[in-house]
Subunit: 303 residues, 2 copies
């Protein structure tokens, strides 16, 4: 089983206002509510590609019920830890530009943490765990590390998509995949990278620190893959960016799709690029049909 972790899921409340004015009473043109969070995005992508996954993390209150119900309705498994506080509502205000208002999120109580670790301890050796997204304020910064320590006891593979210190402190536990973007790569090493060659150099440093596979997403410049056997560059596929939310999570999902189908890492990287691109060019997470269309356009250049 694949487990995706969303510690701080949300209802993303998308509100379109045609003529927004700060300080006034604005009327919405349309509204939409969807479950949000990076782990959930990975699960949605996998679901579109026909792969089952189970969401874990913390949900609470009537907002948490909505998140759980929405995922179940599209066929995604959930085994969230129920918390006392309400899951957060993030507002995505769409006017001529897009403005996000992200809520702080709920407090997680010690007994709720314990419940969550009970679920982590139930994960089996041949399962795969995806850790992505922010850590709620009330949890300690080493929360991902605490999860990874548990997973390592049973040699359970994990993928982690996070930034800065939270990423650095778990590299020694040998994540199966990490996926920094260019900016995150620069921040990790406090450098500026200006060429593919430099990206590959710093990607390889992440291998030295423990990562087994590294994808560096470069947005409109494409993506780079490195592991200890190869370095590959995939130039970006041309098209119109519709939505960058979930594109990185879709890359992670696409890579898992390849691995689950026992494809090579090169092939899995192709599915990662196709999935990320399909989502970036769609309103929501890319559909299977569109991902397949993008897949046919991916080219890989060995470096």
């Amino acid at each position: 089983m694949i487990y995706t972790t969303t510690l701080n899921p949300s209802i993303d409340y998308i509100v379109k206002v045609l003529n927004f004015k700060e300080g006034e009473t604005n009327r919405s043109h349309y509204e939409m509510k969807i479950p949000g969070g990076k782990g959930i995005m990975v699960s949605k992508l996998l679901n579109n590609l026909g792969i089952n996954s189970h969401n874990i993390g913390f949900v609470g209150g009537f907002t948490g019920d909505f998140i759980e119900k929405s995922l179940k309705e599209i066929g995604i498994g959930t085994d969230f830890t129920k918390i006392k506080d309400d899951s957060r509502i993030n507002v995505k205000l769409k006017t001529k530009i897009e403005t996000e208002i992200n809520a702080k999120g709920p407090k997680i109580r010690p007994e709720e943490e314990n419940d969550f670790f009970g679920k982590i301890k139930n994960i089996k050796e041949d399962d795969l765990v995806v850790l992505s997204g922010s850590i709620p304020n009330s949890l300690s910064n080493d929360f991902y590390e605490r999860i990874v320590v548990e997973l390592n006891k049973k040699n359970i593979q994990f993928i982690i998509d996070t930034t800065g210190k939270k990423l650095l402190r778990v590299l020694k536990y040998k994540p199966f995949l990490i996926k920094p973007n260019k900016k995150e790569l620069e921040d990790l090493f406090d450098v500026e990278v200006n060429s593919l060659e430099e990206i590959i150099i710093y990607g390889k440093k992440l291998l030295d620190l423990g990562a087994k596979n590294v994808i560096v997403s470069l947005g409109a410049q494409g993506a780079v893959f490195v592991n200890k056997f190869m370095s590959i560059y995939a130039p970006a596929i041309k098209g119109k960016l519709v939505n960058s939310v979930g594109a990185g999570d879709s890359m992670v999902g696409g890579f898992i799709f390849g691995i689950e189908n026992e494809l090579s890492v090169e092939e899995s990287f192709k599915w990662a690029v196709a999935s990320g691109t399909a989502t970036a060019f769609s309103e929501d997470i890319g559909s299977r049909k569109f991902i397949e269309e993008m897949y046919s356009k991916v080219t890989l250049i060995k470096k």
Copy 2:
């Protein structure tokens, strides 16, 4: 029993952002969710003054469940019609200024309308019905009139707090109380009023059209009461405006409190002014203690 009607209730999602920037990702400093809608505000004020009331209207989905549950938790009765669509979420963004983003609200289906009218038909002769707030888009503009026609069949008293044509078309059914503010009074007669004398003149025109009692709220200038026996002016009580939301609804609630306690209309008007003022000077609907404090400061000037 007092029935308050909120046809289009909401979750008011209050989000404080210290340094809001349009077009960027903003992080909330705090969030709060409260049930919103004018009828609900009247019920909350009555509840603070120890008077029971029952909320009717339309609620749906997980957001509707929250609204209903929140009211029950503070001891307010509800007999809402359950609808298929979700009740709306209105965003109140508090930065240096306050910005409102009001959602369109749910679609009401014909069978849901029928259910609602079933409840209206159950209301008894000595009940009192408060009609206030906006009418959802999917209902016809004469919706209040259709309710009032039903109430009139059993001589059930009603108070209506609405604007323009929706108000004008029900005056002939003799509302017990209406409560336009100065701007609404001017709009109703397409005039500009510049003195208390003129306000009283146009207030009396509303009596001629059918209203039994009229309160004209004048904000920082106080309030005027007229019925066929008297005209009274209550100057504003000095203090710091904290929140104008619900102040008008609190006036309605305060007036009902007086009537329910068999006080005179002058006394009831004093409670209306005290209640409206207490709410205007509070973060939420005024508390009993604060209303009583304001009550001691109300002065009435017969005109």
